[in-house]
Amino acid sequence: MKILVAVKRVVDKDIKIRVKPDQSGVDLANVKMSMNPFDEIAVEEALRLREKGQATEVIAVSIGPAQAAETIRTALAMGADRGILVKSDTALEPLAVAKILKAIVDQEQPGLVILGKQAIDDDSNQTGQMLAALTGWPQGTFASKLTLEGSDVVVTREVDGGLQTVKLRGPAIVTTDLRLNEPRYASLPNIMKAKKKPIDEKTPDAYGVDVTPRLEVLKTIEPSSRQAGIKVGSVTELVGKLKEAGVI
């Protein structure tokens, strides 16, 4: 069974982002970019399934600018077998990404697609669900545990108020939550080997997908900074202030 993993190139999680002066978006010039952390978890899970002998091949797909090849290279260094880069300089929306992934799914026929539940840049949390709708496959989102039982995929989901376990009839779509696993670091020999692994380069056109944005970003602003607090002298004063603020 093949596993398809989607990996996105995003601003590194440790970078303090800055909004562009014209509010059109986030300033990406000279900013360190990395693989979306949820996607690292997806790659790790796929690799573990392959190491257990439950999968034969792990394919990493990234859709984005030419530099997204680096993100695929990271996945290959972790252990993925090959990559597919769909190059696009247009800002991509989840639906366009889901359509391209659908076309790749049709071509590659994987038994399982694992995606991050969301990317840490736009926090959309839509691509996995949209891909499930487009393929008509069952979905197990926010996975904190994943096991394969024959052709069934058993997913424990992190939902509000607890955990829910669902059994999906494969092939299926799974999106990862933080607690699914702890991704490995690529070892030096694997980093070197990854340089020789193949990455197939494609364009959205090749899959017949129109990626023209359907949404318009009106503005991007920084969260307002937190106001300084005050010190109160007594419980009575505290209660008074809370009433004043209208919170009790």
Binding site: T74, A77, Y185, A186, S187, L188, P189, I191
Partner: protein, 396 residues
């Protein structure tokens, strides 16, 4: 003037952040070993076992070992980058750098049997090759005068003598040992008659006593006493009597690699100092607004840049198989001073806080100072440049 530049084949020097994926990989590991880890090691006088194990398991310590022996077969420059990133992260590679340059001695001069026997284990991290016994209490840099003698008796050498500053010997599986196999009065040149033995410390039953030396830094160093230590003849590296050349041959690699560490230290100090200078407000202004604070940091940056360029040049020449003594020595001198000046600027910028151990700066500062002494002192480098590069009379 420089014969090497007239070669038809140019030697290329990479600029900027070379080997970005290796740097990122090393940083990811170093992130798990923050200042608190190194402080505790020093306080408890312990060796960085966990760090070294993880670095080995991830293949970074085998970076320079050829692929056929289980390593990654990368150029010397990649080794510099690995060591640089470790030091830039606030850690220290002193616990494990030795195998990167000693591996070269084994690779170039060892027998195929020795390489097959040890290199794959070293690459995989199952064999630690961290100790290098050269210096003796009475000889220091005057290596050819060393007193440790190895006498061949049948299929073994019997070693008697003493070594000092043999760091990590008690934590290593293998040690290279430079010994005199032919007495000084029986050789034509004083550089003849020295040999390199590979001592398998795991197999040593008797004849070797180690005594730890407490130092100002956590380099885990030792004094070694040999009293009829037996080493099998098959553990001789290369030919008997040629050892001095083999060691010299590895010294350029050592200087270039260790320069990487110093450059990492310089970057660490400069990054921390410039950040703090911009944040710390005294008398209503960030202290970095004062030229007295700002300029030493800026100067250290310029010194780091120069040292970085020469280190890259040295590594490129080494890789191309061209003579690189001048660059290797110059790199080591410039890098050690850049690191020290950056450390001084950082100490001054942090003021009293620099003395607080939890800030890690005093530890890094102590560690950075050592590089002007080891692996070779600044004066010996100046003597080399004066005599061998500029053709002046030998100064010592």
């Amino acid at each position: 003037m420089d014969q090497r530049v007239t070669d038809t084949e140019m030697t290329m020097v990479p600029l900027g952040e070379d080997y970005p994926e290796i740097r990122a990989g090393v940083r990811a590991i170093c992130d798990k070993y923050p200042g608190a880890y190194w402080r505790k090691l020093e306080k408890d006088d312990e060796y960085a076992d966990d760090f070294v194990n993880e670095l080995s398991a991830s293949g970074y310590l085998g970076a320079l070992i050829p692929e056929e022996y289980g390593g990654s077969g990368l150029p010397l420059r990649a080794g510099c980058v690995i060591l640089e990133e470790i030091h830039y992260s606030g850690g220290s590679a002193a616990a494990c750098h030795a195998q990167m340059y000693m591996m070269g001695t084994m690779l170039r001069h060892g027998s195929e049997e020795q390489k097959q026997r040890y290199l794959p284990g070293i690459a995989a991290g199952t064999i630690r090759f961290q100790a290098f016994g050269v210096t003796e209490p009475t000889t220091g840099s005057d290596t050819t005068q060393l007193k440790t003698r190895a006498v061949r008796q049948g299929d073994k050498y019997v070693v008697n003598g003493q070594k000092i500053w043999t760091s990590r010997a008690h934590k290593s599986d293998l040690m290279t040992l430079l010994v005199r196999t032919t007495a000084l009065d029986q050789v034509k040149r004083r550089t003849d008659g020295l040999s390199v033995l590979l001592v398998d410390l795991r197999a040593v039953k008797s004849g070797l006593t180690m005594r730890r030396i407490e130092t100002m830094i956590n380099h885990q160093t030792n004094e070694l006493f040999f009293d009829d230590l037996e080493v099998p003849v098959e553990n001789l590296i290369g030919e008997e009597g040629q050892g001095f050349r083999y060691i010299l041959d590895g010294m350029n690699a050592e200087r270039i690699l260790v320069s990487g560490e110093m450059l990492g230290d310089a970057r660490y100090f400069i990054a921390r100092a410039s950040k703090y200078a911009g944040e710390r407000v005294v008398f209503g202004n960030p202290i970095g607004k004062n030229q007295g604070i700002q300029f030493p940091i800026a100067r250290a940056y310029a010194e780091w840049k120069a040292a970085d360029m020469v280190t890259r040049a040295a590594a490129a020449l080494f890789q191309a198989g061209k003579p690189c003594g001048e660059e290797a020595n110059t790199a080591k001198l410039l890098a050690s001073e850049a690191a020290w000046h950056a450390g001084e600027a950082c100490m001054q910028t942090f003021g009293g806080f620099a003395a607080a151990k939890e800030f890690d700066i005093e530890r890094k500062w102590r560690e950075a100072r050592v590089y002007q002494i080891a692996p070779i002192s600044t004066n010996m480098i100046l003597a080399y440049i004066g005599q061998h590069v500029l053709g002046m009379p030998r100064s010592y």
